[in-house]
């Protein structure tokens, strides 16, 4: 095993002190050019590598940033993380991943662990809207560690966020269905305690009203984000006296379930029934019957979150700036809802 070379080893070899070596390697101006060159050359020949842990302890900055997500094996979260990593890598930051599996307890635990590991910032998508973790969030803010929410956000003073305009996304999708001539549009809403789902719902509602259509509560079905939930919801809808002829689902997975169930019942899509989803999951465009969906620009969301972090990380002493970035959603129209284009 190779010995660990420190600046002391270099100093000893050159009969100078570690301070001089440190200065030479850090481009400190108060150093003779010849010594600088000698030190740098010697350091290279001895295969010296700076110990980042020592530096981190001294400076109080670990050059690590923590990212907390419900789970990593979802295309959306993975893309966001990709964006974060790509934006932060050139700045010398490493990305530490934590998963919560939608458990407030684990979220809490992860927050404490990351702070204790001295991360320089935390970017996260919250798991639950309960206030259970307020202590942990306060702990983060007390330590003056930049905290940025993406997608699923909470209203906390001093916390920045990067989200998309979910209202507009819901509005666009619904308006599109109306334009395709759909008469009665149902909505699969997610957990309304999350802003993102609430806003998608509000956008849906507004689009109906703006087009002079009537909004009826019974066409709004609470579903989980799963294929199974989508199937069950369709089953429920089709039992109504006046079933709808379109669905705007706040989840692509539920939209897929809906489509599968509709096909099962030999209802022709998009002729008799139109479906639009949300998230633009990769599979939506792979399907033979590709699915219309609202894109969340996940990669960009990650990059933007990283940029907000970079803006804040060096200004810990100034007044904390709370930045709210809202990205524009983009509707991808595909076969599941387009009666004209395909």
């Amino acid at each position: 095993m190779s010995e660990k070379i420190t600046i002391y080893d270099i100093a000893k070899k050159l009969n100078i002190t570690a301070a001089t070596v440190s200065r030479a390697l850090n481009n400190n101006p108060k150093i003779k050019e010849s010594t600088r060159e000698l030190v740098i050359k010697t350091a290279a020949s001895m295969n010296y590598k700076q110990n980042k842990l020592a530096l981190a302890l001294k400076s109080g900055r670990s050059n690590n940033i923590g990212v907390i997500v419900p789970r990593i094996d979802s295309n959306f979260f993975a893309s966001v993380i990709r964006g974060i990593e790509e934006e932060l890598h050139p700045h010398g930051y490493q990305v530490i991943i934590c998963q919560t599996h939608e458990s407030a307890k684990r979220e809490n635990e992860n927050l404490y662990t990351l702070i204790d590991a001295q991360v320089d910032g935390i970017i996260m998508s919250v798991t639950d809207v309960t206030d259970e973790n307020d202590g942990a969030f306060r702990y983060v803010l007390e330590k003056n560690v930049p905290l940025i929410f993406f997608d699923r956000s909470k209203h906390i003073d001093g916390v920045s966020s990067v989200t998309i305009n979910d209202f507009k996304g819901g509005y666009l999708a619904t308006k599109h269905l109306i334009n395709e001539g759909c008469q009665t549009i149902a909505h699969f809403s997610g957990d309304q305690s999350f802003d993102i789902f609430k806003n998608r719902f509000l956008g849906y509602k507004q689009a109906l009203l703006d087009s002079g259509m009537t909004f009826k509560e019974e066409y709004v079905i609470h579903t989980k984000s799963s294929v199974e939930a989508g199937k069950e919801a369709v089953d429920k809808l089709l039992q109504m006296k006046t079933p709808p002829d379109a669905i705007f689902s706040s989840s692509d997975f539920a939209a897929l379930g809906a489509i599968q169930e509709l096909k099962e019942r030999n209802i022709s899509i998009p002729k008799e029934f139109c479906v639009a989803g949300f998230s633009n999951e990769p599979f939506t465009k792979f399907m033979e019957l590709s699915i219309t969906s609202v894109d969340q620009s996940s990669l960009e969301m990650g990059k933007m979150s990283a940029r907000v972090f970079l803006e804040q990380v060096d200004k810990t002493d100034t007044i904390k700036i709370e930045k709210k970035v809202v990205l524009a959603p983009e509707l991808h129209i595909r076969k599941s809802s387009s009666r004209t284009n395909f």
Copy 2:
């Protein structure tokens, strides 16, 4: 901003030394029970948190592990990372993510960065089989940092690996196509310089030979792992004098492209033509025409890699044990190839 509480602060408050505080908090036996309790109580009341960086510097262990993958926004890699995180989290390790985007240069850079950040181990899927990075790999091994390859592996002494039996996967898929009555089976092979793709090909070949079928080079098409590549490959195959009536693709994406192109040409699947892929990407089972695919047990691969790391991390002084774990692949038979089951 809350002051950072150190063991010195606790010591001062109690009129004892930091050494005693440290001993009390670490369950050192040489300490009076009453002082221990007092220290622990005081530490809690002052909201003391151990500085992990100081600990890391002292102990030489960062409790971080590095994971290097080509990209994170692919279901396979994300699942593996999920497995690694879940297995290592209970042991107090944090997972640092690095991406290479298939660039040997970035892989090299990531290896050095991780070692310089003093990670306790590295789990990775190699990007390229060139020897360009041998220096970096040697550097890792010299530092006695456990290195574990998963999926895409390289033959390096002292490096453990966790892979699936790609040969068997290729064999199973091909054998299945034969059992379905296919007469001429083509193969989409990936980059043959990777063992995983070579072995899938060899499994395919062996299955043909074992069934008394003739292997012909011209039915093997080199494709990238993309939908487009699959389409082009089908185009090529259908121009042959005797086109095949089945494809075993080493990539699910290429398999999807093949299916799209076949449908375009009104060739009925699976009646006239069967297709099987590899990886069991989520979309393969979502399709209306679901795709037969070989599952790579990605979650388990991640967990197993983490376990191998744990086995090795504490035995740096003993002889380095090189462990090679090979997981069993599992064929998921679906509509794209099953003439009987559906």
